[in-house]
Amino acid sequence: MSDLMTFREDTRRWLEENCPASMRTYMPESEKCWGGRDYVFSSDDQKLWLTRMADRGWTAPTFPKTYGGGGLSKDQAKVLKEELAAITARAPLASMGTEMIGPAILEFGTEALKQQHLPGIIRGEIRWCQGYSEPNAGSDLAGLQANAEDRGDYFVINGQKVWTSYADKSDWMFCLVKTNTTAKHGGISLVLFDMKSPGVTVRPIQLISGRSPFCETFLDNVRVDKDQVVGEINNGWAIAKYLLTHEREMLGRIGNVPAEKTVAQRAVESIGTKDGHLKDSVLRAELAEWEIDFQSHQLTIERVRDETAVASVGNSSAMLKLYGTQLNQRRRELLIASEGFNAMSWSQDSEARLWLRSKGNTIEGGTSEVQLNIIAKRILGLG
């Protein structure tokens, strides 16, 4: 038996014994486990599941064991993912730490930074938010202005960040700041600071869909020690681009949430069938096309991942983000169309809110137009 097959059997057995039954059900958005200092677990099982997975480092399967990660190979991580999916296990941790800043610290950070931050990220003890956009730096992110004044051993930061998801619930922020005002891309640094630092104020943003995780974050004379710079000073743009690639990949998976019922099932329940066909034949064709496109996108995520072992994925993330977010919007439109006025109430968990919220998918993390620019310039060489 190959090592991978042995690993699969061991994994399956371990999951069978350790994944609580209630963690093998479809997860409503409200029961996502974010972790963090002040996190209130929604159940004992949620806490137990996080602890057990974190103990094995499987909240960050490919991170080195030295920092508490799983130390798995890419192939093993794929097996783990498949085995988790096979029992519809919930993700033990939803985290900007394991998905975004963790990999960046691993790649660019000093040994001291790795030891300081990675274990907390992997165990879900510290929750992170991302300080990127500013009121005047959206699509032109490199035009950001949050100023970091050099005071020898530390910086003093002044400025405003916007669209900082969950800033009000996070423990630390990774933040792009200006360390050299005379250069554009070459004057940016990536710094880390505690959200409890004096001078950090957070205000939630209300969206067209109602309450949202988005916040504005105001930075007034926030002190950040220089050892909290990731990579070199003034070299933050390279890391930012690396992180944006991760973010695009993450956003590309946006519609891939296991749900109790498929869109088609919900349409059938709402509209009914005649001779086995959905009564609305136009919607039926739209549904079929969406399903085929959705599978196509899922397969592309898989293919890009498979290819990464051989070559660099890089810019493909722009395509994954572009298409994944469009698909999620199409899904929301189909659900509204299928459920009609039942989906249009203004209740707290109404479909209408999710539909409205999805309008932001093709804007956040780089607009679709920015993704198309990236593809045209970096992949097709047009310019």
């Binding site: 088609a264 039926r284 996108h297 051989v310 395509m319």
Partner: protein, 379 residues
């Protein structure tokens, strides 16, 4: 499922790419068209393909074939799309071989497959009778006679029907047009008395056949598979065929994108390359993304044939839908982005749209397969 090519598949892809770029392409197609080539393909190219072993790819080793994979054959099909390379390969080595493998008796396989592998035998599937394909809409029928059957009826859009040595004919042995039962498959030499073949020159410069069967005597041993139960192997073979047509359409689409991007970098207006305009950049980038999605769907579909994984009908329909939609977009967009010159016969880009629409319609376009997909998915 591994969604990358293994070493062998990659080798097949690269050798097909270099061979077809050197020996086929729009210039060959133009020559075939302008010299009124009576068969619609280059005999010379087909001979070379035989020497390269291409017709034997899907034939198991025990019948003298290479016993290679659908993924490998799909790479060839994709490259025939890039290079608009017509040959008997699809009808014989993909469709014909698949029907023999799905339904042929041991004796039929042993008799015919080695001949195909050596390049001595070509086949054609005489299936459709209506302008929009539908494998159930079969009126051609056989009646039983002493020693076998008598076949009557007409077929149209038969790929390679005018040149194939043998025809695989679907005919009703029971039931009425539209019924799923009562369809049988027969292997009949094209020169059998009572068979009349006429060619139609199609817009892709290929020739398809209309075939009339008038009291054609067919022996019992010419039945492929079980009487009245032909739909099962036919469906399986059409699934395979549609997945390989998807690969060809992917090739057509990729080539259109490549040629268009090249043109965007060359053509100057307002003193700059037109590729510097965002309006065109975004169209090209959208097309590239769609083609990337199509690649994954087609590769996964080919792999699933090799692994016998999943519901082949669902997978084939999904693959054909995606490939048809993307090929349609690519061919339309490439003409638009080429501007006026894209409309001229002198320029090559127009050859691709002509081939694409025919490959799209063959065995069901995206509308047909969307409907089939929904049906198979239970809604």
């Amino acid at each position: 499922m591994q969604l990358i090519l293994n070493e062998e598949e990659q080798m097949v892809r690269e050798s097909a790419q270099s061979f077809l770029t050197d020996n086929a392409g729009p210039s060959l197609l133009r020559e075939i068209r302008d010299t009124n080539n009576p068969v619609g393909y280059s005999q010379n190219l087909w001979q070379q393909m035989i020497e390269l072993g291409w017709p034997s790819l899907l034939i198991p080793e025990q019948y003298g074939g290479l016993g290679s994979s659908h993924v490998a054959m799909g790479q060839l099909m994709e490259q025939t799309g890039n290079n608009l390379a017509n040959s008997p390969m699809f009808a014989t080595a993909v469709l014909g071989v698949s029907i023999l493998l799905e339904a042929g008796s041991e004796q039929q396989r042993a008799q015919w497959l080695p001949e195909i592998a050596m390049g001595n035998l070509t086949l054609a599937l005489a299936l459709d009778e209506t302008p929009r394909p539908d494998p159930l809409n079969i009126a051609a029928s056989v009646t039983k006679s002493t020693g076998g059957f008598i076949l009557n009826g007409g077929k149209s859009m038969v790929v390679d029907g005018q040149i194939a040595d043998q025809l695989i004919v679907s005919a009703r042995s029971a039931g009425r047009p539209g019924d799923s039962g009562g369809i049988s498959l027969f292997l009949i030499p094209r020169d059998t008395p009572g068979i009349e073949v006429s060619g139609t020159l199609m817009m892709d410069s290929r020739i398809t056949a209309n075939i009339q069967f008038s009291d054609v005597t067919v022996g019992k041993d010419q039945l492929i598979g079980t009487l009245d139960q032909g739909l099962v192997p036919l469906t399986a073979a059409l699934n395979i065929a549609n997945i390989h047509l998807s690969a060809e359409l992917l090739g057509v689409a990729s080539e259109c994108l490549q040629r268009t991007v090249r043109y965007l970098k060359e053509r100057k207006q307002f003193g700059v390359n037109i590729g510097s305009f965002q309006a065109l950049q975004h169209r090209a980038a959208t097309l590239w993304s769609d083609i990337e999605l199509c690649k994954s769907t087609v590769l996964a579909a080919l792999r699933s044939l090799d692994d016998s994984a999943g519901n082949a009908s669902v997978i084939a329909s999904a693959s054909k839908v995606k490939a048809c939609k993307v090929a349609q977009l690519a061919t339309n967009e490439s003409i638009q982005m080429h501007g006026g010159i894209g409309m001229t016969d002198e320029f090559d880009i127009g050859f691709f749209i002509k081939r694409a629409r025919i490959a799209q319609m063959l065995f069901g376009d995206h509308r047909y397969h969307l409907n089939r997909y929904a049906e198979l998915s239970g809604y």
